[in-house]
Amino acid sequence: MKDFPVLSLDDIEALAVGAWILGTGGGGSSYLGLLNMRRLYAEGHRVRLMPPEALEDDDWVAVVSNMGAPLVGQERLTDSRLIPRAVTLMEEHRGVSFKAVMALEIGGGNGVQPLMAAAHLNIPVVDADLMGRAYPEAQMTSAAVGGLRPDPLAIVDCRGIEAIVEKVPTWKWMERVSRKICVEYGSIAATCKAPRTGREVKDWGIPLTTSKAIAIGRAVREAQARHHDPIEAILSVEPGKVLFRGKVTDVERRTTEGFLRGRATISGLDNDRGAQVVLDFQNEWIVAWQDGEALATSPDLICVLDSTAGEAIGTETIRYGQRVTILALPPPAVFTTPKGLEHVGPRAFGYNLPYKSVFA
């Protein structure tokens, strides 16, 4: 572990910005996780970043995430001690000792969660995740596409309510059962999901997404400091495509079954003046529509950014009058296979649409 590079606080600041952009509208803001990390670093904690290939095949890796509605996360603020508690609960339950911790989803606040566990437990973070972005449901991971075991799950609430979901036949069952628990907890819970072996992480993990988020975040932060165009800066480190620029003219939200669903209407500015794009969301941006046609769909990453600052705007925070740029980023290859599309393609979200990549 000594050999793995220590993340600087500056890396973590960049990670927070980049993870929020990769959150594709969801995953919750990484701001509160960042505040916790600043505090932990001030107290002397340090976190090391471990490349996935450094894992032995039989090492155990804890996969962590905070689940629930981002809105709740803005009120019940992340306590840095909760996610490591989910990890130690799993260790107690399974009788194993984790070599490292990794993110379930790099997008949003969950990109920072493993760092809190790593800081408290003094183990490294693996530079990989199972989504490459944020997705709303448990079966929407590369581990599920790879047919890996979905159980067990450790799920904890800050009031000392702790549960293990021991066995489920499918990822969808894990989603249903854990979602019910999460809603009972108040639509927020810290989880340690099915532990992965080093072999599984190397075979099915989406590699180097932590460093990708740091690179994106650093590009935006440097552009902001120099008053350069942050969108251009992102395009200089990621092969993305600007889909639309405009102003938010309507937002409709409804909370159903623990998800935030709805749509946002963007009216074009500059070259897109006169045109309109409607964004459908289920926690994350799922489909961008223009004139009744799908402009982009999952698994392409649809990112809505503040046109000036370059920072991400979430499905929770988007509001009337904001000037936004809709940017598409390419998806991890594992999700563009027929099996991958079953899990995260447009049909997985109830849209009877074929997946046509923006990058095809």
Binding site: L32, R39, L77, T78, D79, S80, G186, S187, T255, D306
Partner: protein
């Protein structure tokens, strides 16, 4: 309609009289440390112009940067008690956790966190620990705390724990000023709590300042009601502003921009308000300032206020100028211009001295700056021009040239030809645009209510109707009402598609007659 608008800035106190949509008189007086004498001075100068003529006034409307300056400069703030209801959640991120240390050191008194709060669906998160609330209040009293901010998880949806705690705090500290976060805002505990903490820190200053305003007006022999302007360009009665001073934070900038739009009759433009110390650049659309998209930091503290999107650069009439190497601002002589600037016999070279030497401005003693040659003036003014051009460019949201409204006492620093600007417009009384903006401030009506058994569209329409009714009751002209803020949150746990809708609309004050250039 006869109103006096007053803007108490860091450097000048401006006063205007507006009658039937026309500016009848405009004066400027230096802001004084005690505020009151500056206002008295300005009112005396206004009276001296004989425009008041003994006629009755409908209102006096004051806008001030006093409160935001206090936070930015960390002065005149009250040490407060922070009571957060919500344990065991959020414990590693206590109140003040993301404040700049220098500000927290001034404001942070007793910090307490207790069990309680609500869930997103209205259930109690934890029962309110009333014993712990009482214990915290006693500790605050023991430490001499007299202003308390109370925040609670999901209080915008259910403020009952904050209210209950406020009653207990008031029992223990009977003379306490209490700010509940649910009075200030929306979802987002940390930002809402920050707003409550700032508001509590301003409790003494707000009481003293607004009382001073009232005294100044009364001793001028004026018997019109006093209103204080707010961040969004509307006014509230003095008593309300005393309770919630944070809502009047950014009114200075809003007033300048609205005043500039009003005076010029142009409703879409970039506005540069050049004061004594800073230049604020913002954009108006339909006569209102464009709002900042994101979280707004006030004195380094994150808040969720709706504030105009402004770029402040350290350029003003009082800016220090040094010639070798060339620099302008951000330091400024501020209100000491008339003693410290070279043209007034001082020894600090300022942007105003350059303006006087270049013949752009006629104040002070021109002979005292005659040694500054023309190439030197040119060099400084070119530098100022590039500062202005860069600021304008950064505030533009679209390519292409814009109309620039140059207002404020330092507007002489803005040249007529600017890159990216089609036309620079200076208006009569432009140096008092902020006071004009205060005088034309509007009244608002707000509704914040849970609607059931109707569609989202119907719920919003009903809320708009109710908000309009309240604005009218508060004196707004129905034909001028516009909705400036709509927010709706679905509440999943209630049957019948319940949603909480908040609508705010504003309109001009009803007057006998309206003129063509009414805002």
């Amino acid at each position: 309609m006869r109103r006096i608008g007053i803007d108490v800035g860091g450097t000048n106190t401006d006063a205007v009289l507006i009658e039937d949509g026309q500016v009848r008189g405009a004066v400027k007086a230096p802001t004084t440390l005690d505020v009151t004498s500056g206002i008295l001075d300005a009112l005396a100068r206004l009276t001296a112009t004989d425009v008041l003529g003994g006629k009755t006034l409908d209102a006096v409307m004051i806008g001030t940067t006093h409160f935001i300056n206090a936070v930015v400069q960390r002065r005149w703030l009250t040490k407060i008690g922070a009571l957060r209801i919500g344990l065991p959640a959020s414990a590693t991120l206590p109140p003040f956790c993301d404040w700049p240390e220098d500000l927290a050191d001034v404001v942070r008194g007793t910090v307490a966190m207790v069990e309680g709060g609500h869930e997103y669906d209205g259930r109690a998160f934890m029962p309110l620990d009333t014993g712990a609330v009482r214990g915290a209040a006693r500790e605050m009293r023991a430490q001499g705390i007299r202003s308390v901010a109370i925040s609670s998880i999901f209080s915008p949806l259910d403020p009952s724990h904050e209210r209950e705690a406020a009653v207990i705090v008031a029992e223990e500290i009977p003379d306490a000023a209490i700010t509940c976060s649910s009075d200030l805002g929306r979802i987002g505990l940390l930002e809402r709590e920050n707003a409550a903490l700032l508001n509590a820190a301003l409790a003494d200053l707000a009481r003293e300042t607004i009382t001073a305003f009232e005294r100044a007006i009364a001793s001028s022999g004026i018997s019109a009601p006093l209103y204080i302007t707010q961040n969004d360009g509307t006014v509230v009665e003095a008593a309300q502003a005393m309770r919630l001073p944070v809502y009047s934070f950014a009114s200075g900038a809003t007033n300048s921009m609205r005043g500039a739009a009003y005076l010029s009759g142009i409703k879409d433009a970039v506005v540069a308000d050049v004061g004594g110390t800073t230049t604020d650049v913002g954009q108006i659309r339909h006569g209102f300032p464009r709002e900042a998209n994101a979280v707004v930091k006030v004195g380094g503290v994150r808040t969720l206020f709706r504030m105009p999107d402004l770029l402040s650069v350290g350029l003003g009439g009082g800016s220090h100028v040094s010639l070798n190497p060339l620099s302008v601002g951000p330091l400024s002589v501020g209100y000491r211009l008339t003693t410290d600037a070279v043209a007034f016999g001082g020894d600090q070279l300022t942007a105003s001295d350059i303006g006087i030497a270049a013949g752009l401005l006629e104040i002070g003693d021109g002979a005292k700056v005659s040694h500054i040659d023309e190439p030197t003036c040119r060099r400084v003014l070119d530098h100022i021009q590039s500062m202005v051009e860069e600021s304008i460019d950064r505030m533009k949201t679209e390519a292409g040239d814009v109309v620039l409204l140059a207002v404020g006492g330092g507007a002489f620093l803005i040249p007529d030809d600017l890159e990216g600007v089609s036309q620079v417009i200076r208006v009569p009384h432009g140096d008092c645009a902020n006071a004009v903006g205060a005088a034309i401030a509007q009244v608002s009506g707000e509704i914040d209510q849970v609607f059931r058994d109707m569609t989202r569209e119907d719920a919003i329409a009903t809320a708009e109707h109710l908000a309009a009714g309240r604005a009218e009751a508060a004196g707004a002209d129905r034909s001028t009402l516009v909705v400036i803020d709509t927010e709706d949150i679905p509440i999943a746990y209630l049957p019948g598609n319940a949603r909480r809708v908040r609508v705010r609309c504003v309109g001009d004050v009803v007057t006998g007659e309206r003129t063509s250039n009414g805002a």
